[in-house]
């Protein structure tokens, strides 16, 4: 569904991604794990069009999307839930969700928005309770739910999640990973999950990649990575609870 070949990207003179390749089949949950500064967020920013790639190829359903702007990529069905939620803080929860459906208006399918709202409220009942509250006043976990809900309103087929567990309380972290599994089951989504929390991410993903200083150094099925000694030492060792 998504195929990335030799992707290069960075900021100004700074080269962050060096020949990164990965692929995700339809219906898969794939995770990219790595430490702070490995280039995980840069990877997702480049895939979603916020940052332009320097080289390589990004094929989404066989179509090259490398040079498309972010707003066009959402239109095609790839949605990013960005790092740090990036909500519209001074707007209400409901407004945030409806804005997520902007592409549905462009597709002339605004008729589906109401139904989608109900589905998101069914997935995250907490958002329903807080419907008229300003997004900036929500707790961290609720903000993450809203960020995911907003992305769902664009009716994506593929979802990029950038560190959804970051900054959340341990109980909320577990809840978020459960929700990610539900997203595939109930919404039929293909998911690329970028995480520092390797244990949690590999627990929910089918396959994983390890990104180190801009290079993919390892890949394989989740169980294999979980039992890999290098991965255990570098990403699982010091955090038995899974919160890196």
């Amino acid at each position: 569904m998504l195929r990335v070949k030799n992707l290069e990207a960075g900021y100004g003179p700074l080269k962050v991604l060096r020949k990164v390749s990965l692929h995700i089949g339809p219906g898969e949950i794939v995770t990219v794990i790595g430490a702070n500064g490995a280039g995980k967020t840069t990877l997702l920013k480049t895939l979603s069009g916020l940052l332009s790639a320097r080289g390589g190829e990004i094929l989404f359903e066989k179509k090259d999307i490398r040079r498309l702007p972010a707003e066009r990529i959402v239109f095609l069905g790839c949605s990013l839930v960005p790092e740090g939620r990036q909500l519209f803080a001074p707007l209400t929860v409901r407004e945030n969700l409806i804005l997520g459906a902007s592409v549905q208006y462009r597709r002339k399918r605004q008729g589906e928005v109401k139904e989608d709202l109900e589905r998101v409220f069914a997935l995250f009942p907490r958002l329903k309770e807080r419907e008229t509250q300003l997004a900036g006043t929500l707790s961290g976990g609720e903000q993450q739910m809203l960020a995911i809900g907003r992305a769902l309103l664009s009716r994506p087929r593929m979802l990029f999640l950038d560190e959804p567990s970051m900054g959340l309380a341990p109980r909320m972290v577990r809840e978020i990973f459960v929700h990610i599994a539900r997203l595939r089951k109930e919404f039929g989504l293909t998911i690329l999950l970028v995480e520092q929390n390797a244990r949690g991410a590999l627990g929910v993903a089918d396959r994983g990649y390890v990104l180190e200083t801009g290079r993919m150094v390892l890949q394989g099925p989740s169980e294999e990575l979980l039992s890999n000694q290098d991965v255990q030492r570098a990403y699982l060792g010091r955090s038995p609870e899974g919160d890196a």
Binding site: P69, Q86, F88, A89
Partner: protein, 296 residues
């Protein structure tokens, strides 16, 4: 000072205050969408007045005013498309300097088209000496037009921002540009739209006020300074506060005539601007915390 005179000053203050507020709201719309101060804002007001005067020679007054607003709105879009839209990742400072250039360009173009003569629309109802008696205060009907039309424009604008999808998208873009793009909102279109809206609202203000204040190719600049003062006074980006701040500046100016020679009227706004920048740069209605998050 007797109470009647007092109210007379208040009314005069509100009239000018309304126009300052309209200009300030124009500043705010573009600021919210782009983070820049559009120094060509006063020129939109001038263009609204000038175009309305010209069109009113062949068209009935209401049509002429609507036409002037439409023309100015288009000019707003053209300015964005020609000078801002195609820039790739421009810095705030660069865009601000571009708007200063644009304001000079528009002023000189207006001088070329209309010459130096001072123009005005006729009073919408009655003449310059007609007045309506309210209690013991005499009010020109044009004052009611200025306040009424501006109030309708401001209410319509806030309804647009709060209840339409396009308006919400503009607010989303102001709140978080990257997140808006991730929702499929074209940030560049929102910027063009913001230039159109602030040109349009500026033109409305320019057309309704020009029977009282007259209009000339260079009458935009002083209005831009006043509007800027009001925008800063209220807290940049906050349109409701701009209305309050506009009234404060208008009323201060009108009462200043009582204590200061009339020639010093302009000093008020500049002093106020400096004062507010020194002691409370976030504006009287803005929070300091919010201001720290802004780009400059």
């Amino acid at each position: 000072m007797n109470p009647d005179l007092f109210f007379q000053y208040v009314v005069a203050g509100i009239t000018y205050g309304t126009i300052y507020a309209v200009v300030a709201i124009g500043f705010n719309i573009i600021y919210n969408a782009t983070g820049i101060i559009n120094f060509a804002q006063g020129e939109f007001v001038m263009l609204g007045g000038m175009t309305a005067v010209t069109l009113s020679r062949f068209l009935p007054l209401p049509v002429a005013i609507l036409g002037a607003v439409a023309v100015t709105t288009v000019i707003g879009a053209v300015i964005d498309i020609l000078f801002i839209r195609w820039l790739r990742g421009p810095s705030v400072l660069r865009m601000i300097i571009i708007t200063i250039g644009v304001s000079i360009l528009v002023r000189e173009a207006a001088l070329h088209v209309w010459g130096e003569s001072v123009r005005a629309l006729p009073y919408f109802t009655g003449t310059s000496v007609t007045s309506i008696k309210m209690g013991n205060v005499y009010i020109s009907p044009q004052v009611l037009w200025v306040v009424g039309v501006s109030a309708v424009a401001v209410v319509a604008l806030s309804a647009f921002f709060n209840y339409t999808m396009l308006g919400r998208q503009m607010r989303a873009c102001a709140a978080n540009r990257d997140a808006a793009r991730l929702c499929g909102i074209s940030a560049k279109n929102m910027v063009t739209l913001s230039f159109m809206l602030s040109a349009g609202i500026g033109a409305i203000g320019g057309a309704v006020v020009c029977p009282i204040t007259y209009v000339q190719y260079d009458s935009g600049t002083p209005l831009a300074i006043k509007g800027f003062t009001v925008a800063i006074l209220g807290g940049i980006g906050n349109s409701a506060a701009a209305v309050g701040a506009g009234m404060i500046l208008g009323i201060l100016e009108s009462f200043s005539i009582w204590v200061l020679p009339a020639a010093y009227k302009e000093v008020i706004s500049i002093s106020l601007l400096l004062l507010i920048l020194f002691i409370r740069p976030s504006g009287i209605f803005g929070s300091a915390e919010e201001a720290r998050l802004k780009e400059f």
